[in-house]
């Protein structure tokens, strides 16, 4: 299957992407080699507490001193993109919007992580 994350990961400054399920578990993640540790860091975030806070939110952007995290609500849960200050923010958002329809097709509740990992990578 075509790597649907190829475009977004090729944007300068994008570290990686992940899909977090509505139960707070990480369904899939894809980080560039240089930022592999961030995949682990993302797993340490308390998503179970954060997800209810974002209940009415279709997209959110967390702006830090160094870097940003862009979160978009998708059918299986949250689509998360981690990037730094040199990344073109609008291009990142556009790519996430483009990916939304693909990610929405996957049904929540299935063993989506395994499925996506097999199919996408």
């Amino acid at each position: 299957m075509k790597d649907i994350f190829k475009d977004i990961l090729s944007i300068e400054g994008v570290h990686g992407v992940a899909v977090i399920g509505s139960d707070g578990g990480m369904l899939l993640s894809r980080f560039s080699e240089r930022y592999k540790d961030e995949e682990y860091r993302l797993g340490r975030v308390d998503w179970n507490t954060l997800i209810p806070e974002l209940a009415d939110v279709s997209e959110a952007e967390f702006v830090f001193e160094r870097g940003r995290i862009y979160v978009r609500k998708v059918q299986p849960g949250l689509f998360v993109t981690v990037f730094d200050d040199i990344a073109p923010v609008s291009m990142v958002r556009l790519n996430c919007e483009i990916l939304q329809s693909s990610l929405d097709k996957f049904k929540a509740g299935s063993r989506i992580g395994q499925l996506l990992k097999k199919r996408i990578f």
Binding site: R41, L54, E61, V63, E65, M91
Partner: protein, 379 residues
């Protein structure tokens, strides 16, 4: 004055080819190249650009960022986005971001020239006036409560200023890369100008304090003060300034001053140039917003953003503390430093920017407001 089109693309070979192809249209416009967004901004700051054609994907400052900066600093300059990166959503996002036109590569030079010419013609769709007494003309605009964008050509210095009117009110002004009162004063102090009229105004909220009459009076004072630089000997024998106006393309429902005006062209006047003040950022919003952020209080944001288009409300709401703590903890996990702001697009309640601080400030924006303008302002 021939229109100058800025073409921005990091593909130098493509730009070179396009410059050559567009030579055919040199009767309508000339083309200036830029090879990245940064260079494009430098050229824009020098003034004289009438239209921007930009690629979407470029290093450093990409097409979106360039579009965002043009909308903010040069709201009267139309932008055509060109891209080989065509996806079903791209067109929609590009137009939602404020672009005037969109072209997918590959396209022919004729396709591009047609779009350029159409947008350039729009700039004077309401007609052109020559040898205008600007004060008289603007008073007519005010009286007839016109909504329009006026491009004012100072024939003495060959530079163009832009005045934005909505319902007869002067909303803003631009001269080179300056927006606001300073630009308005300088433009209104010009004599012997030509004006082209475009219907519509990009500003919905007034960005200039004060009524047109008061601004005109201040501008006249500036003009009088600058007249001390006149050489009286040069002024001797000069024709008195005329209020005659030549309307080149009369349009219905548009103020027509002196409809009997002849095609007489005034002799170029030798006016002393108004001394230029030091350039300053187009808006004080960014600096003021940062100060408010550092101070961490709602009143600071209210004062910094009171003129910002699309801001609906600013208030304190400690209920967001829990989210701020969650997200701040995420920042620590990622070693990303402190949290500057949270942007939320809420299904029912719309867009908001939440700024942590001693007080948690919430800035509500209407759905059409580009979020980056507010995020940049509070950082």
């Amino acid at each position: 004055m021939k229109s100058k089109v800025l073409i921005v693309d990091d593909d130098a070979a493509w730009v070179k080819a396009m410059l050559k192809e567009l030579e055919e249209y040199s009767g309508s416009f000339s083309v200036t190249p830029a090879y990245d967004g940064k260079q494009a901004l430098e050229i824009l700051a020098s003034g004289q650009i009438s239209l921007v054609v930009s690629d979407l994907r470029m290093p450093n400052i990409d097409g979106f960022e360039l579009l965002n900066r043009v909308l903010r600093q040069y709201p009267d300059i139309p932008v055509i986005i060109i891209t080989a990166y065509d996806r079903p959503k791209t067109r929609e996002v590009v137009f939602n971001s404020g672009a005037d036109e969109y072209l997918t590569k590959p396209f022919t030079p004729e396709d591009l020239a047609e779009k350029i010419n159409r947008l350039l013609q729009k700039k004077s769709e309401g007609g052109s006036l020559h040898n205008v007494s600007l004060e008289t003309f603007l008073q007519l605009i005010e009286m007839e409560q016109q909504t329009c964008t006026l491009r004012v050509l100072n024939k003495n210095a060959s530079n163009i200023g832009v005045l934005f009117f909505r319902d007869g009110e002067l909303m803003n002004a631009r001269l080179d890369n300056r927006l606001g009162k300073e630009a308005a004063y300088e433009i209104l102090s010009w004599s012997g100008v030509s004006v082209s009229i475009q219907n519509g105004c990009p500003f919905t909220e007034k960005q200039l304090d004060g009524e047109l009459q008061a601004i005109l009076l201040d501008a006249m004072r500036t003009k009088d003060e600058s007249s001390q630089y006149f050489n009286p000997e040069e002024d001797e024998g000069k024709e008195p300034e005329t209020d005659e106006i030549l309307l080149e393309t009369p349009v219905d429902n548009r103020p027509k001053a002196n409809p009997g005006g002849k095609t007489k062209t005034a002799e170029p006047e030798k006016t002393a140039e108004t001394p230029r003040k030091a350039k300053r950022p187009a808006s004080g919003t960014l600096d003021a917003g940062k100060q408010a952020h550092d101070a961490g209080n709602v009143e600071g944001f209210k004062s910094a953003l009171h003129n910002e288009k699309g801001v609906e409300d600013i208030y304190e709401d400690p209920a967001w503390n829990s989210l701020i703590q969650q997200v701040s903890s995420m920042g620590r996990i990622f070693d990303a430093g402190s949290l500057s702001a949270i942007y939320l697009n809420r299904v029912k309640k719309g867009q908001a920017v939440i700024v942590p601080g001693e007080q948690v400030s919430v800035i509500l924006m209407n759905p059409d407001t580009p979020r980056d303008r507010i995020i940049d302002a509070v950082m």
